[in-house]
Structure formats: C-alpha cells, structure tokens
C-alpha cells in the first residue's frame, strides 16, 4: 500500500493534489497500463490483465513497500487498486515510522482471513484517516486457484466522503497475495468494479 493513495484525501485538503501531468504530491508519476496485456504487479510474483487503460504509480524505494503496487483510473482521490504480491511473514503492508504511536499490524503467515480483514481495517483507520468503518461481508472465495477470501467494506473518511472497497486475497506458501479495490461509494465504486473483477479473475501466480 502506498501512502500517497491513502493520504490522497489529506493531500487534496492541503491543495497539493492538483493532478497536473499525472503527479500526485509533486513527486509521484504514473505510467499507462495497456489493456489486454499480461502485467507483472508488485514484486513480480503475480500477473493481471487489465480490461482497459489504467494508471500505475511509479514506486519509490524509500517510501513504498516493494511487494505492493497501486493503480488508479480517475486519480487516487476517487478510485484505486492496490496489489499485494507475495508479502512474506512478519512484513508490513505499508511503510511506517518504526516508533509510530499507531501501527498497522504486520502480516503473519498464520493469519486467518478474519485477522487479515482486521489488518485491512487498521490500515484504513490509521493511514487513511477513516473515522467510521463497516465490514459488509467476509466470505470464502477462490483466488489464484486456491481457497481465499473476499472482504467487502465501506468507510467514512476525514473529508466526509464515504468510500467503499473490496479485498480479494489468499495466503499461498505463507505469503499474502491480495488485491484491494477502494473507491468513492457513489458512482466510482460501481463504475470500476467490473474492471477489478476482471483483473481478479485474470490474476495468476508467476513462479
């Protein structure tokens, strides 16, 4: 997970967002994802096929986790997909200050889906500034050819906008593979959900 995605709300309120030339906060750049091609995401351990053009953020080794990559369609304020590929045991999903008061739990190989769901919730509460969080559904779902889970949720953020999200994931050989789709609840979620579902169906392990 990329801090720029989660803090898009805060950036916008400070007037930094102005997505001129594809930059967010003045330092992130996007590159185009072409539809219909197999694309490696995260650290390259997973591939997906996008049904239409998406924008992937260029990652920064100092601020980002190399197992995680973010895409957006209309800008991080409105929608985004985060790919988590082969996150190992005892690793973080987002980079945080070592001594931060509030810390997103580390991923552990022994985690059950309810624990991974709690991890996602803490991520949005701590780094995304969500003040209200509702778990809508947690159910079994096949992902990457194995038994995984699907988490549906919605959250109210500091900019008073409701956002809605879906996470699909599985733990394979002790590593976490997950796709998180998060978008403004009105219009943008429904509009990009078919893309997300197509990508989740296309996802493959790359060994």
């Amino acid at each position: 997970m990329n801090k720029r995605m989660l803090s898009a709300v805060a950036a916008a309120s400070l007037g930094l967002s102005g997505c001129t030339g594809g930059g967010v906060g003045g330092f992130g750049l996007y590159s185009l994802v072409r539809p219909g091609r197999t694309v490696k995401v995260g650290n390259g351990a997973m591939t997906v096929v996008a049904p239409r053009e998406w924008n992937r953020t260029t990652r920064n080794g100092f601020t980002d986790v190399r197992y995680v990559e973010d895409w957006t369609l209309n800008g991080p304020y409105l929608d985004g997909i985060s790919f988590v590929s082969a996150l190992p045991d005892n690793h973080r999903i987002i980079r945080q200050e070592y001594k931060a008061d509030r810390q997103v739990p580390k991923f552990r190989s022994v985690m059950t889906p309810p624990e991974i769901a709690a991890l996602v919730e803490s991520l949005y509460r701590i780094e995304g500034g969500a003040s209200d969080w509702r778990t809508l559904n947690l159910a079994p779902r096949a992902f990457l050819g194995t038994g995984g889970f699907q988490l549906d949720y919605e959250h109210l953020d500091g900019d008073e906008l409701w956002r809605k999200g879906r996470a699909v994931g599985a733990v394979i050989d002790g590593r976490l593979y997950m796709m998180i789709f998060d978008a403004a609840r009105s219009h943008y979620y429904d509009s990009a959900l078919p893309d997300f579902e197509a990508m989740a169906a296309s996802a493959q392990l790359r060994r």
């Binding site: 803090s7 709300v9 805060a10 309120s13 400070l14 001594k99 931060a100 008061d101 509030r102 810390q103 997103v104 739990p105 580390k106 552990r108 022994v110 059950t112 889906p113 309810p114 624990e115 769901a117 709690a118 919730e121 803490s122 509460r125 701590i126 780094e127 995304g128 500034g129 969500a130 003040s131 209200d132 969080w133 509702r134 778990t135 809508l136 559904n137 947690l138 159910a139 079994p140 889970f149 549906d152 109210l156 953020d157 500091g158 900019d159 008073e160």
Partner: protein, 406 residues
Amino acid sequence: MTDAVTRRALLAGGGAAAALLATGAAGARILPSSLQPLIGPGYRPTDRDELGMWQQMQRVEEEIAGSNLLIKDAGVNRYLQALIGKVGGPAAQDMRIYLARIPEFNAVMFPTGFAVVFSGLLLRMRDEAQLAGVIAHESSHFLLKHQIRQWRDMKRRTDVLSFASMLGGMAGGAAGIYTGDLAQLAQLGTILTLLRYNRQLEAEADALGIKLIAGNGYDPRSMSETWEQLIGEVELSARVRRKRPDRGYSIFSTHPAPRERMIDLRQSAAELTVPGRAYDRGRERYLQGIGSIRPTLFDDQVKLNDAGATRYIVETLAKDGWNGQLRFYEGESLRLQNADAIQDRAALSYAAAIAYPDAPADAWRWHGIYLMKAGRRDEGRAALQRYLAMAPSAPDAPFVRQMLVS
C-alpha cells in the same frame, strides 16, 4: 516534567509570563473562591471586535453542526446537553455541545458558547464526575470571556497576524475536520493554536470549573484524576514504543503544563471539599448515558493499535471492576500487536471475556478462532457456533460457517 522545562515554557508564552509577573506570584495556584463568571444568561457582545468574532463563529458552528463526522445518537447528545446545562454556570442554558467522532482525548470551547467534544474523551472517563469536570472547565473559558481576552492580548503584542484571516482558516478547517493523521490538516492546527490558552487562562478555567462541579455536588477530586489518567496514558503509550512522550495534536498542545495543573487541582479539591458532605461520582448514570456508543468508542481506539494507550485505558476503566467488554477489548489490543509472545495472552483475554455474561458476540468468535489455531478444534467449533447463534447475520458469518465445516 522538570522545573527548567516549565520555566522555559512559561517564558515562551510571553503573555502568560507577563501576567504572572504582574501579580508577583509566578506559578501560584488561583483560588477557586477568587473567581466569578463574567457573563450571565443570554450574553451578547457589544464591542466591535467581539461582534465580528461572533459573526464568524456562527459560520463555524453551522459547518460543524452539519458535519457527518458528528455522532448523532439522540440519547447520548441529550445526555451531554443536560450535563453542560447543569455544570455550565450562569450561561449554561445558552451553551451547545457537539460530539465529534474523533478517537482523541480533547474538548474545545468556541468563543460563542459551543463546545466540541471528541468521542475519545467519552471513552476515557470513568464516571460522570470526571466528564463534568472537563465540561465545566471548557464552559469556564466562555464564562470568563477567555477567547476575546486572549485575542486582545495577542493583538497588543503583534500586528503581523490578521485575526480575520485566522478566522477564515478556522471556518475552512471546521468544514473538514480531518480525523486520521491530524498533523496533516493545517487548518485544524490553526483552530487549535488560536484556542490554545496560556497558563494563566487555563488555571482560571480550572479554578472556576472545579468550583462549578463541587457546587453541583460532584466529587471535586475528579478533575485532578482526569489529568493523572491522561499523563499516565501518554507515558505508557510512549514507553511501549520506546520513545519520549510527545503528542502534537492531543490535548497537551491545547492545554499546557498538565502536571502542575494536576497538583493545583488536587489542592483546590481539598479546599472545596466540605467535611461530612456526600459527593456524587455518577458512574451508573454515566454508563447509562453513553453505554449505547461505548463499543464504537472502544473499536475506534483499539483498532488504531496504539498498544500502550489502549492498555492504559482498559486498565483504568477496570479499576471500577472487570467485565466481558473490557476483557474483550484487552484481547483485541493484544491480538493486533501481532507478536508471537503476546498471542497467548490475547487468547487468555478472550477466554476470560466469555466467562462474563456481558461478553460481546465478537469475543466468542475470536475465542473460537484462537482455539482452532491452537488445535483444539472441537472447543473452537463450539465457540464459533455460539458466535453464530448470537450474531446470525454478522457480516463475516459466511466465512465462519466455512471454518466450521473445514
């Protein structure tokens, strides 16, 4: 806090230092008996600068009143309104109170007599006497006209700051109180800076506040307890992360010198306590007043995974007796810390929680999951079945049902 630090802090707040030197009693406690409210019921400003401030503040209040970050629970809001109506002094009936869903310990009084209480404050109070103390303190800022006095003092000292532009920032900030990483919202910072009173004004609000609650029959010792709890929480939070206590946007930034104030409040409480008189703590009333939102308040705090702070809060509330809810949230906090050494303790907390009749359904779920992970599958299944029986339409019920058959 050392003497040197305190003195430097006083000098930094030039206005405070000057005021104290003028009275020739730097650091002396203000006697509750020496203060009277400066305004009565139905107060309206007449001076031009104050009139302008009120006009701007009405806009701020409209923004806040319409925010969807407010907790709308009618019962809780009635309870808070009744409490400020009781301990708010002569202008009590004019005051308004808004409850914002922000998991921090803070409360802010605006210059026109409306207060914003952060939900994190309600989680941390042990009883009505403690909450009444905070509300009476904030009300006293209004009763003593601190905002306009502070502003006039500031204007004397500098022309660089334009009050109008600061108010503009406040209106904007109030429109979008950012609740996560508060440091990110410069505009809320502006509000808090403007409403940061110097040591002298805080001491006055403490002195009048404690007089107001004692006069209403509340135990006056509750105010120093609140500070003790706050200091203890921040210290334990920092100790768990192995660092020095520093919380930029917490109540410490708007309410300086907590330790000195705690000591002064203890003395004032002893002075105000009438021997033989029975003082009220109002714990039952408090639990009844806010009970409906307490699980939400706990969730908002615990899921931030600030382990030391949560532990301190749970243990402080448990001084009035452990129950299923407290043991459950103790387990939640341990679980989120996610260290192998602590997982066993999380399991023990859940196991302890379900022994109480008030254990929430979620305690049964986690108890069951931990049993399953420990290889005690039959017991785990039984606990998960109990969870499903208590919460058949829980959002994660489909997943838990699968756990039962796998």
